[in-house]
Amino acid sequence: MTLDTVKHAEQTPDAEQPWAELGLKPDEYARIREILGRRPTGAELAMYSVMWSEHCSYKSSKVHLRQFGEKAPANDAMLVGIGENAGVVDVGQGYAVTFKVESHNHPSYVEPYQGAATGVGGIVRDILAMGARPVAVVDPLRFGAADHPDTKRVLPGVVAGIGGYGNCLGLPNIGGEVVFDACYQGNPLVNAGCIGVMKHEDIHLAKASGAGNKVILYGARTGGDGIGGVSVLASETFDDAKPAKRPAVQVGDPFQEKLLIECTLEIFAEKLVAGIQDLGGAGLSCATSELASAGSGGMRVELDTVPLRDSSLSPEEILMSESQERMCAIVEPDKADRFLEICEKWDVIATVIGEVTDGSQLEIFWHGEQIVDVPPRSVAHDGPVYERPYARPEWQDALQADDAAKLPRPATGDGLRAQVLQLVSSPNQASKAWVTDQYDRFVQGNTVLAQPEDSGMVRIDPDTNLGVAIATDGNGRYAKLDPYTGAQLALAESYRNVAATGARPLAVSDCLNFGSPEDPAVMWQFAEATRGLADGCLALGTPVTGGNVSLYNQTGDTAIHPTPVVAVLGVIDDVSRRTPVAFAEEGQLIYLLGDTKEELGGSAWSQVVHGHLGGLPPKVDLEREKLLAEILISASRDGMVDAAHDLSDGGLIQALAESCLRGGKGARIVVPDGLDPFVFLFSESAGRAIVAVPRSEEVRFNDMCGARGLPAARIGVIDGTDITVQDQFTLPLAELREAHESTIPSLLT
């Protein structure tokens, strides 16, 4: 086969090209020809096709994502915003924190272990590329029905992959979620988040400037992994009829990644790089075009110098390869030797593959012949932008009219007791220790809180006790009923979870998991959810710093529930003030904060007891959320509460059960006057939390809530080894524990 050089492309303008097979639309191909003024070479076509894919270009979501910038609240903490590998916020004392959540959904369905493992690897490199030391990971996961046979294949593989990779990197896994719903059958959601810490002056950006600077590729050799994975795997609906559309996913080597982390941090410490970018989706195509585009534009790369694992790879394949554990750095010539020396120390292969030029084109050569000559911005940023049509689905009204309030409720104390046990032992509400015990939560020696706490928390300065907290939340059932409100509920819950541990919520990252953007109903869900999230972030004063969109999560015509997963990052000045969920001290008073209304739409109760989804989700009051957060943070700082737990899915009884089981203590509870016991126990009204108040602090705590206007009701006391709801039922902790902790192991082993 002859090499398709730029010269050859000019001479053969009418040659047939496989643009359709590479996922490009006719008008997109025409646009490439227009940009170049000729037909693209094979290598150029490969680059455009991967970079203009949904996954890399955000072509369907871009018009909606703009709101996160346009509606961003004024926030002095924001150091780097949307558009870089990850956003960066100031957390005080000269420290900056970067964090982001990404999806690795489709690959994890095809090959659960490697899909999930490389998802962790990718997000960690994103964080590393900002100049930060990664300090913790979190994993929000969603699977099909817990008792479906395929869940038994996917879940253990995903969990082993996350553990196998993350544990080997030495990153504590401190949070996340495990959710089951039949809507995720065939489309599991494997989202992965990472937090990194650096000093302000260490922030690095992905840009290539300074003519003569070296382009150094370092890390693993390039192989045939995931070629076309971006365009095909992440951007097309799975179709069982076409197995060829499921190429092999990439295989990760966590050992190589660990070396890459340590090597890169040493390189940062010696200030050897002018710009840096990790290689993820779209591999070298992405790294070279983004680096050049963000810099002065010109870059020349000798592609045949790239170290290969498989010597038979074509230049197109090298450009598209998604081999893991690779980074690309821009280095001044006089620093290149030291850079290579550090790589050698860590046994990391590093190769100068090109240099920054004073031109404006990205030029790539193969054994001396030019195969790419493109304006880098046209590849990296000038991809198509679609205003996809969207329309509120016609079934939405009927769904919302199917009110959960009409569902039959237990009439007796015994009936309530039975449904409490049914709830806490249901797969979604049961203990996830089987999963989280496969993750190392202790490594690095800075973990203050980890799952099942409300948020994960790590200390970032052992001398001052400065720490950061992170929570991730999403509720696809709420979002299905009302995507705007559902997105705000996810944000509110995550925000509340951070505040419940005593940390001040600071910024947001999101992972937006939806069905096909070509379906107007899905596009409406997406538009509503992004609008809800942007409005919510404005109201709470927490800007979106970055995130990720995953579309085409559907099988045939059936999309997953719209599932915006929201991560909130918080800061705590002194981690010794953190508030855990455990009710550990007998005699302390239990207070319910916030208002309980009859809100059962999308609730765990309606799902577990009735298999029902309908009505409206709980109402959101973001001003109330802010007030609740302020109270929780003040109470933590001033030592007024010893435990706190946010109320969300499963309502009060779920939170109470978790706090009691965690502390190994029971509780005597009285239903407040005027509240129906069933509504009190199972309603999912937002803006609520339970706290344990030492008797010596009761007056002070009550005064604070009263002065600031937050409803606070004393509902009981920590006591004994049963949970007793007066006049209703008594549940021994041992029975509750058995119900709560045996479900997941018995389903999966």
């Binding site: 082993a160 553990g163 196998g164 544990n167 080997c168 990197l169 030495g170 080597d253 966590p254 050992f255 190589q256 660990k258 070396l259 860590w346 046994d347 989280t436 015990d437 496969q438 993750y439 190392d440 939560r441 202790f442 490594v443 690095q444 020696g445 800075n446 973990t447 203050v448 200390r459 052992p462 006790n465 981690v575 010794s576």
Partner: protein
Amino acid sequence: MTATSSTAAGPTGLGNARIGVVTFPGTLDDRDTQRAIRLAGGEAVELWHRDKDLKQVDAVVLAGGFSYGDYLRAGAISRFSPVMEMIIEGARQGLPVLGICNGFQILTESHLLPGAMLRNNHLHFICRDQRLRVENADTAWTNSYEAGQEISIPLKNIDGRYVADERTLDELEAEGRVAFRYLGMNPNGSLRDIAGITNAAGNVVGLMPHPEHAVEPLIGTGRTDGLGFFTSVLKQLVSA
């Protein structure tokens, strides 16, 4: 400069005791271990796997992690590094050496301790707060404890199942060389619930659980049961 000569020189006070912490490619708990040593009152010294001298340290900790990715077998590749040659020689002459998790695996691969570690019987990585009984409180790394004392420190591994042949196990038991035993649930199928062992001289100790993760009340499990490992060796060095 050999390790033994620096041990013989001995520290004059706790603060002067130099304890080396080895970093292999893939070591994870090296910084945590250094912090634990400092909290116990010692000076932590970084040792690199390619080092050919031990920087006059008085004792060495092989920290946990996945050196060389646990490829081939956990600890099998690290065991052949230059720094290990020095450590093996030093250990034979009395240098206190503690192997934690991957470090324990390296010690068995080096034949400084008998037996081997295999995949957990349930095949999963397991991370939990683990109760242990200190069976032997006379080693360089356990003299701050009482024999029979129960402690609770984190356990986190996938290759943690201790095995050895019956004769070796009987010998370990008879000589009091089972240093730690799991209490409650045996987390990985280790024979005779063995969590850690010592050599006959008591200077080389290996265990799977992680004392360095239980040294601060705020962090991890919130207990400080692991600090005694590091104060033990400092005490031993002072009295030596």
